[in-house]
Amino acid sequence: MSQPFAKLPAWADYGLLPLINLIVAFLVAGLVVMLVGESPIDAAVLMVKGAFGSGDGVGYTLYYATNFIFTGLCVAVAFHCGLFNIGGEGQAYIGGLGVTIVGLGLGNSLPWWLVFPLAILASALVGALWALIPAWLQAKRGSHVVITTIMFNFIAASIMVYLLVGVLKPLGSQAPETRVFGDGGQLPGLGWLLNIIGLDMRSAPLNISFLLALLAAFLVWLLIWRTKLGYEIRTMGFSPKAARYAGISELRIIIITMMISGALAGMMALNPIMGAQHRMQLDFVQGAGFVGIAVALMGRSHPVGIVLAAILFGMLYQGGAEIAFDMPNISRDMIVIIQGLVILFAGALEHMFRPSLQRIFQRVGRVKRETASVVTAGGGQ
């Protein structure tokens, strides 16, 4: 009785429904493209070609996806605890500080494979500490993390500007960025990986932090569904009352979860800083923290879904850049509109088509049952 509609089979829930949402998003985006007088089909071809048509295209797509996997996981882990961490942007930004300190300090003296683990630890630690304060305020004082993490994004941005135009900038330079790291502070690319599948990557910045992102996704899955801590996190997320009943400390779980979440966001900084630019630049996060929210929503807070959604958004970023380049009527801002539509339909309006789909499945299910009963009745004669 409490279930007014039939439950969808898993394949429809996790496959068909997101696909429908995506198709509608692209249809509406196509209308927008038509409105400015370009062919939506050409634009679509350009986007897919730009994102997957060449070794460099794939390299860029996966490079962007790496950022989104980290920030998507950051949001998802907090989601599982019932917390909405909007601070991925700031946690990633400030996480760059950890990468930079290790990269500047050790990049000239140690090989990359020694610097990398230290940089991972440093970025995760700084990101986690940045999330610790909002977590503490939430757990102890009831200050809502949504508000505090947004504020901490601004604080992080201000601190980083202050540092990048001050202490971190080499003397005599006009650009708000650090000096280039030594060889040890530069991560190897993944050109060889694309070579295996016959693609040739020349200038794209795809690097081994992509593999780290995949590993992180697996570890998050392990954490959430296979460990005692994950069990406690999910209990808290579904029902704080049940957590209290089970003797799970709210303070402890909120703080641990937010710190894991912040650590994942902080690790995002590895990709652009150590992997691509080999220095820290102003505003290197470029909104990836916020895209992570859409990625987590679309990926249903499941690591597999997040990896797929991150690749989709990587495609939008890379393919969108190609469209803006080739179609004079479509500016960079138009691309943002299209990305916004995808977020709207795939993320925010995720449940729009669910009732109708459920109704269709219910009807199909009934017809099947009736046929089945006719068959059994017939067989009984």
């Binding site: 409490s2 406690e232 999910r234 009352k241």
Partner: protein
């Protein structure tokens, strides 16, 4: 025979695989009180939701006063003179009675005229049916009995000729329930038709003219109330003979296991919820706490179980003090042999989104039995869950099934299995059979008695007075946070009812 107010002809409704209503035929005579009785999940509420336009029947016809009608939404139902009083009141707490009554039928964008008209109409209704309520009182300040009266007034204000009441007495004291029944009689005398949905046999016998019994989505029988018995109805409901009163032997109370001394608890707003409560529970006895919902029982057991903190007082478990004022830890209490079946199994006792086996360790997930380092030993947990499923006959017997997909009775069995199988010294049980079907009630009651006979100290809280009386060896009555009396298990219902209503113990004894 009087002319029918409602005729249901061949109503059929499915929700996916669940066949909620099967080919229902029912006839409700005008100017009568018609009872619908059945276990949880028998399809009573679905049927009434179809009548009130919340759901559409897949097939079948509804006739109101002999005319076939379509009821696409509740507005259409109201238009046809059908009013509904829900189990959970649909009232705006910080509105006045008047504002609630006119909500949705204000008549004009400006309220001035509407208020005057509503006030006059409300007066007339109050006079006609003797439903006295102060129209300017705030809902949140009214006792539940009066809030329910406002719900009835709301329906009458909208011109209801047919009144459907869904489990109306769940929140009332016995005297309040009796008062409600008098109101219903009065409405009947004025020519209204009343449909009363309930799972309490006693109420059916007390107030209805006719009764339909539902089981598994079908109407299995319709009887004239004078011509049937409680036993017959119970058997029809369950489909087999049931023991309405549990059989149990003499209690053999042992040493004191749990003792509560001068316990005072405030809620988050600072209101005193438990007021200087003292009592003890011995090994091998069941102590029942009777009381109308909201008189501090919930806070009392949650404090003992370490979920809430107290302002003052002491709780001793096996003679050892439990830290109840500071950060009491339910986990630590479990280690010390205190098990707790919470009142609110949907939000506290279970995580409905979890699979069954995940809930089978809630609260005991620190036990090394279920762990392998930091990882859950999923195989061990599932094997353990399967054992409990077998022993407690939990259906369907699939530990991988989502807990929300179990029926109320089976959900409760999941909690009971988890708490009882730990072999605790003290067992606190809140509302053991709320939302549980009759078949499972029998099983649960038996298990509780078994725990007692095994020498456990059992503290039982229930708003079902029958349950308290049939299970308990001693009965404490709570009213407004205080323990206002202690009685033996053979105390009369009337005596307990008066205590529950706050009538002083001395007066009650007279």
């Amino acid at each position: 025979m009087a002319e029918p107010a409602i005729e249901l002809v061949g109503i059929d409704k499915r929700f996916g695989a669940v066949h909620a209503n099967r080919d229902i035929h029912m006839l409700v005579e005008k100017g009568t009180i018609h009872g619908i009785i059945g276990e949880n999940g028998a399809g009573k509420s679905t049927l009434m939701s179809i009548l009130y336009g919340f759901y559409q029947a897949d097939s079948g016809e509804i006739r109101i006063n002999g005319v076939p009608v379509k009821i696409p939404d509740p507005n259409a139902a109201i238009g046809l003179g059908i009013g509904m009083v829900h189990q959970h009141f649909m009232l705006v707490e910080n509105f006045t009675v008047l504002e609630n009554v006119m909500l949705g039928v204000e008549g004009a964008p400006l309220l001035k005229n509407g208020i005057a008209k509503a006030r006059a109409e409300l007066k007339r209704l109050e006079r006609e049916y003797q439903l006295d309520v102060d129209p300017d009182a705030l809902i949140e300040e009214l006792p539940v009995g009066l809030q329910q009266r406002v719900e009835i007034l709301k329906a009458l204000y909208r011109g209801a000729e047919i009144l459907v009441l869904d489990e109306p007495t769940g929140v009332l004291t016995p005297p309040e329930a009796d008062h409600l029944f008098r109101i219903l009689e009065q409405l009947k005398d004025q020519g209204k038709t009343i449909v009363l949905i309930t799972h309490k046999l006693r109420e059916i016998m007390a107030v209805t003219d006719n009764v339909s019994v539902m089981r598994q989505g079908s109407v299995v029988a319709t009887r004239k109330t004078d011509e049937t018995t409680v036993e017959e109805l119970a058997e029809l409901m369950v489909g087999r003979r049931v023991l309405l009163r549990v059989k149990k032997g003499e209690a053999k109370p042992g040493e004191i296991k749990l003792s509560v001394e001068h316990l005072t608890v405030r809620d988050s707003r600072g209101v005193v919820m438990v007021d200087d409560a003292s009592f003890s529970v011995r090994a091998g006895e069941i102590v029942g706490i009777a009381g109308v919902a909201g008189n501090g029982q919930s806070q009392l057991i949650e404090t003992i179980a370490g979920i809430r903190t107290a302002v003052s007082g002491r709780v001793l478990l096996d003679g050892q003090v439990i830290d109840i004022t500071g950060a009491a830890d339910p986990g630590e209490l479990r280690d010390r042999g205190l098990a707790h079946v919470p009142e609110d199994r949907h939000h506290m006792g279970l995580v409905l989104a979890f699979e069954e086996y995940e809930n089978s360790i809630l609260g005991y997930h620190d036990d090394p039995l279920y762990l392998r380092g930091p990882f859950l030993d999923i195989e061990a947990i599932q094997a353990d869950a399967r054992k409990k499923i077998e022993k407690y006959d939990i259906r369907p017997g699939d530990p991988r099934l989502k807990t929300a997909n179990f029926s109320g009775g089976n959900q409760q069995k999941i909690v009971l299995a988890r708490e009882m199988e730990r072999d605790p010294g003290v067992l606190i049980i809140g509302q053991p059979t709320r939302g549980v079907d009759v078949g499972a009630i029998e099983f649960i009651h038996k298990r509780i008695i078994e725990m007692r006979d095994a020498g456990k100290a059992v503290l039982l809280v229930s708003v079902e007075l029958d349950e308290i009386r049939s299970l308990s060896d001693r009965i404490l009555v709570m009213f407004a946070g205080r323990i206002v009396g202690e009685r033996d298990s053979d105390a009369s219902e009337g005596e307990l009812g008066l205590l529950m209503a706050g009538v002083e113990a001395k007066e009650a004894a007279e």
